[in-house]
Symmetry: C2
Subunit: 319 residues, 2 copies
Amino acid sequence: MSGAGAHGGSPASPAGPENGLGLSRRVPDLGALQLLLAVARLGSLGRAARECGVSQPAASSRVRAMERQLGIALLERSPRGSRLTGAGALVTDWARRIVESAEVFDAGVQALRGRRDSRLRVAASMTIGEYLLPGWLIALRARHPDTVVSLAAGNSAFVAERLRSGEADLGFVEGLTVPQGLDGAVIGHDRLLVVVPPAHPWARRRRPPDARELAATPLILREEGSGTREVLAGALGELAVPLHEFPSTTAVKAAVIGGAGPAVLSELAVGEELAARRLVAVPVEGVALRRALRAVWPKGQRPPAGPVRDLLGLSRLRR
Amino acid sequence: MSGAGAHGGSPASPAGPENGLGLSRRVPDLGALQLLLAVARLGSLGRAARECGVSQPAASSRVRAMERQLGIALLERSPRGSRLTGAGALVTDWARRIVESAEVFDAGVQALRGRRDSRLRVAASMTIGEYLLPGWLIALRARHPDTVVSLAAGNSAFVAERLRSGEADLGFVEGLTVPQGLDGAVIGHDRLLVVVPPAHPWARRRRPPDARELAATPLILREEGSGTREVLAGALGELAVPLHEFPSTTAVKAAVIGGAGPAVLSELAVGEELAARRLVAVPVEGVALRRALRAVWPKGQRPPAGPVRDLLGLSRLRR
DNA sequence: CACCGCTCATAACCCCAGCTTATGCCCTGA
DNA sequence: TCAGGGCATAAGCTGGGGTTATGAGCGGTG
């Protein structure tokens, strides 16, 4: 109660409906969330404290503070342990999503810091590096905790250059062809989707737009776009007129959700938004926007060995 | 680009299985991440500081601390502003996903604390309440900032009871039928997916399992499951033998990823995992696991008005 | 019955992360 | 040349979070 005034100043910022950092006042920090997950899993504050490497009073106090902060009772404490409240279960699920995002962040950062002593140097396209690789690295770390990975991200030419010059051991690219001088294996596919916000006309029309209309419509694209643009240009014959370019995929998504126009993005990038109905994929007749995801390595280097093989195996998943 | 500074300072980790809360040591807190997003968007530390309501030195110091913590140079500072590094752009994208998860968390919690003065009391099934409603609430808050929502989550019977007793103004259920005494409108559909980890035999077989094999296989289910179980039982004739029950959807996912067995989950719950290839959906021949998502309200209450109408509109999205 | 083991809570103390204000340097545009 | 925006540094303060020590319920057990 006493609803935390949160000083309603909403200064209608340009490219975003959300504002300020009141969030960090209303959302517990990662440590507290992890603690909550541990309690949910282990059924006891004390055990959770031990697993998290803190003292039991610290855990107790922390969870209590979190309950005060949220205004919700999360745990049913008893002399025999602690169970989640109904609301607590829901909160825990939302918390787990934050923690998972943090794990992705961490795995990405760990790789990105590019240590010299890395046993596995990876070069990846932006899309794969951003959305797929962190997950693989988390899995890899679970299996081979000692493997240190370094990551460099760029377009296909960048990946190829890194491999040829020996600055990377393994590469990942999306696109139509294997870059010259490299061997490769298809590890999966993704589709490029035309996405619009749910309120957009294309989301409501019975007849979806055809290739002609798509090509005539200004689109929001990521700058440079390499793989994305290549496939798009091939499918449409000539490149659609870009409405605006943004530095990152997520910035593009934010712009689309904000109503700036349609965009063409990998399904990898918009899975969550589609599920949450924040974006809608519009089918476009007669346009095949499927492309291969490939692992690549220097030509002739026959059997990828050691850590390279480990990661390659993890990346080779069905479909 | 995106080379990332070398910076060999690696603080000899304690060779532990990193299960604890080392994450919170390696991942900056929400405030810092929001600050980074603001800098990326506004192009200047000072402007970002102002938007976030802190002093410029605080912002500067905070970002600097973050760079030290991550071991990555995020910004190119110049006397005319600050731009993101190549690596910084990647990090910022990962950061944005954390912040978005936090917004979902916040929206959910705000609704869950159930204020007495709520202008809109919603009762929803677990799946809708967990995955869809927070997104709608974020959108609702952007459009009608004054609307205060309270949320109660349970199974279909629970939702129906809340509506009939006048404790809720609007309900959301997934399932085959409209509960007795309620009016409803279909707002969308979802499918139940059989999911397994990528290494599971079903993910590799050319011939997917049929209904018979599915029904004979122990599955991981959420306890009580209401909507999910109802549809599943209807499709399989008799209920599959549950291998284990978990208290929350996310716990089920974690178990599946960990190799505990196949599960049947809403596509809403696994969109991200599918995109990231942490889970694989297995098609099952001859089994239709599609179900309707419905908004429901007390019978006779003709035109949903005011806030009810607002939220109803937001929830009525294509497909 | 009394004891031990488990649970959670409270109390007193400590430490560092992060905020603030005040100031200085650098670059650019008028 | 000066004004102004942008970033960095230097002091001093506050509080959240951690620790150890201790107490209080409840349950199985000799």
